[in-house]
Symmetry: C2
Subunit: 407 residues, 2 copies
């Protein structure tokens, strides 16, 4: 049984966070963040599957795969440090080593992450300045965690945090995380940066297994616009400060898993609902499907359909487009079995029954679609598996934001 | 050697066309078209791969697979006759048989096609009225062909036609076609209706083989918004009126293939350039790739990227997004080998050399991107295969058109 709690990366014991305005690209706002644990932490991660990977992604993958404990994650916004050649790799190393110097740890114990425009080099000097400022600002308060979450925002309009805790023999274990991600988000590591921390003691193997599972059901089930970035990074640090060790086959394991999944799902929904230009969060549940894999493919197909997204924006119950998106997902099903239900504001409306339009009120449908969160439930009526995907509507503001991004 | 000629479905000998305002859904415009050959024609076709298929698609697939000659194609706009259950199938049959009655042929010698909103039933009475009007209007003129092309438009802003001819022992053979398609277009039978006619005599087997090849390099290489429709239909009729028979291994075969490919490619580009809300045609050439299949996947990935499309709309040379789209295409390559060239208005500009930004003028890049046709040439520097895909920019008007489609 997990309990939802406030906070993000500083919710768990032994973690400190900080933000600073290093002047990397943005002016007048914070653009660099630090998450630090004095006690070394096991770490696991998943990264973009884009063949084109940013310098920090290569750095992190090596560290995660080496399996040694880490102490910190430094993240910057404004410049993605992608497509920056060997110079970019050196700058990324400099970022890690400046922080390592301030914290008196090894550079390889400092993970890095960047987000922002592709192709520009991160200037060297702000990294030195930023590392000093971050060290000075380190704090274990909730506010420090939120400050870090804000510093990594790019086109996000809100910072994203989530945390949950559970008890093991009276001892509290906490899992908390932060994310950024708004545009350029898509499954296969939805473009985003996410750092989750926990004070549980978890072996690297168990942690990596759970992280990959969590990603599969959360971060990989959201999409704003199908563009999988060069920078997607999801890191989880476990420093054992709670004194509780998580072993497979125990209730603690189940609770830990639930907490981790809660945090990753919650962060995913926050990102999907903050998609560039987004006015509505869309949720697509595919139920009674033959397999979970099929259900995932189907739900993601609907959530990524430009035509469904624009219809939602226009509050138009154009169920034909939903059916069409299911139909080109690439998996087989019997169209004559499908029921489609629209759910919003606590009310439900059946749009399709057995593959053809049900008798429903267009006015009612439009009213439901005007809510800030709309859910399509696609009942495939063929099995017992299900999956949920999240996304958002496609609006004029998306175009506005993206036709002019580099300004 | 082929010669580009004017016209569309009536360019080849022995074909007549017509349009009429049957009042199926639209008012004040033509909404039904007919293509007719008195001499029976071999026919081949390809259809949507969407699991959800419209009634006319089932009808046509059966006819094409049965392999018997046909006489006509009747196409309507306004209502797609998709997700219409058994009633929809009956209505589709009625559409075929009304025309068959007027032409004194068998209903199974009349192919059908529909485009428009999903889920509504086509009203019965306009079909009877429409068949009479079409029969009366049949003509073999160029204008009749264009009238048919106009009648099948939905959100298209222009009608689409293309034709080419070649000589075999002094006898002219012609291939001509029409298409409609604007929104809801994507590879795997880009949502569109297309009818191509030829006066060559071609066996069904040879025709189907060429049609599938042509589709692979043309219609399946365009995208407006990734939504593969429920109605995609591409039909080719060959009535032999020229007296020339096309056999494999001959020069006539090569010329016929070139003419067919020219028509399908030309129609594809016209559709891509008329994408809903489109202001610019985008062409993406992937060259020096390892395999043609890879090149296709890569070029289509770029053409369908919302972020690339919005950047083009904003005339922003955001090559990072192009690289990113190549990177998530799902195929492997070495990012450090890629060169990217922007071409427009006869001028070229190198954006990326060896995976990193080249030194180029942003002003120049913006100037090129303001052209109505922009081309990205992605040189993978790893092989000898290539492929080209077409699409268009993503604009406010796309949102406007699609957030409000059913009004």
């Amino acid at each position: 049984m997990i309990k939802i709690v406030e906070g993000g990366v500083t919710a768990a014991k032994g973690y400190m966070a900080a933000s600073a305005a290093a002047g990397i690209k943005y002016e007048g706002r914070t653009d660099i963040a630090l998450v630090y644990t004095e006690k070394p932490a096991a770490c696991a991660g998943t990264f973009t599957t884009n063949v084109v990977k940013a310098a920090p992604v290569y750095w992190d993958k090596e560290i995660v795969e080496a399996g040694k404990p880490v102490h910190a994650v430094v993240l910057n916004s404004g410049i993605a440090n992608a497509c920056t050649g060997s110079e970019g790799k050196e700058i990324n190393y400099a970022m890690a080593s400046e922080i390592a110097g301030q914290l008196h740890v090894n550079p390889k114990e400092v993970l890095t992450a960047s987000t922002g425009v592709i192709g520009m080099q991160i200037p060297r000097e702000p990294l030195t300045k930023g590392a000093v400022l971050l060290k000075e600002a380190l704090s274990n308060t909730k506010e420090a965690g939120t400050a870090a979450a804000k510093a990594i925002m790019t086109t996000d309009t809100v910072s994203k945090e989530a945390a949950a805790s559970f008890e093991v023999n009276g001892v509290t274990v906490t899992v908390g995380g932060m994310s950024k991600g708004s545009g350029m988000i898509h499954p296969n590591m939805a473009t985003m940066l996410s750092v989750t921390t926990t004070d549980a003691s978890v072996s690297r193997e168990i942690l990596q297994g759970l992280v990959s599972e969590a990603v599969s059901d959360s971060f990989n089930m959201i999409s704003v616009d199908r563009d999988t970035s060069t920078n997607d990074t999801y890191l989880v640090l476990a420093n054992g400060e709670s004194g509780v060790t998580i072993e497979k086959g125990t209730k603690a394991y189940e609770d830990f898993k639930e907490a981790l999944f809660y945090v990753s799902t919650e962060l995913s929904k926050q990102m999907a609902g903050d998609g560039e230009g987004c006015t509505k969060l869309m949720e697509v549940q595919v139920i009674h499907c033959e397999t979970k894999e099929k259900a995932k493919v189907l739900s993601k197909s609907v959530i990524t359909s430009n035509l469904v997204k624009t219809a939602v924006y226009g509050s138009d119950a154009n169920w034909g487009r939903v059916l069409c998106a299911l139909g080109y997902a690439g998996v087989d099903f019997n169209p004559e079995r499908i029921d489609l239900v629209l759910e919003a504001g606590g009310e439900r409306l059946t749009l399709i029954k057995g593959g053809v339009a049900d008798h429903y009120s267009e006015e009612k449908a439009t009213e439901l679609l005007k809510q800030e969160k709309v859910t399509f439930i696609c009942d495939m009526n063929e099995g017992t598996a299900s999956a949920t995907a999240w996304g958002c509507d496609l609006t004029y503001d998306y175009i506005k934001i993206n036709a002019d991004y580099r300004s």
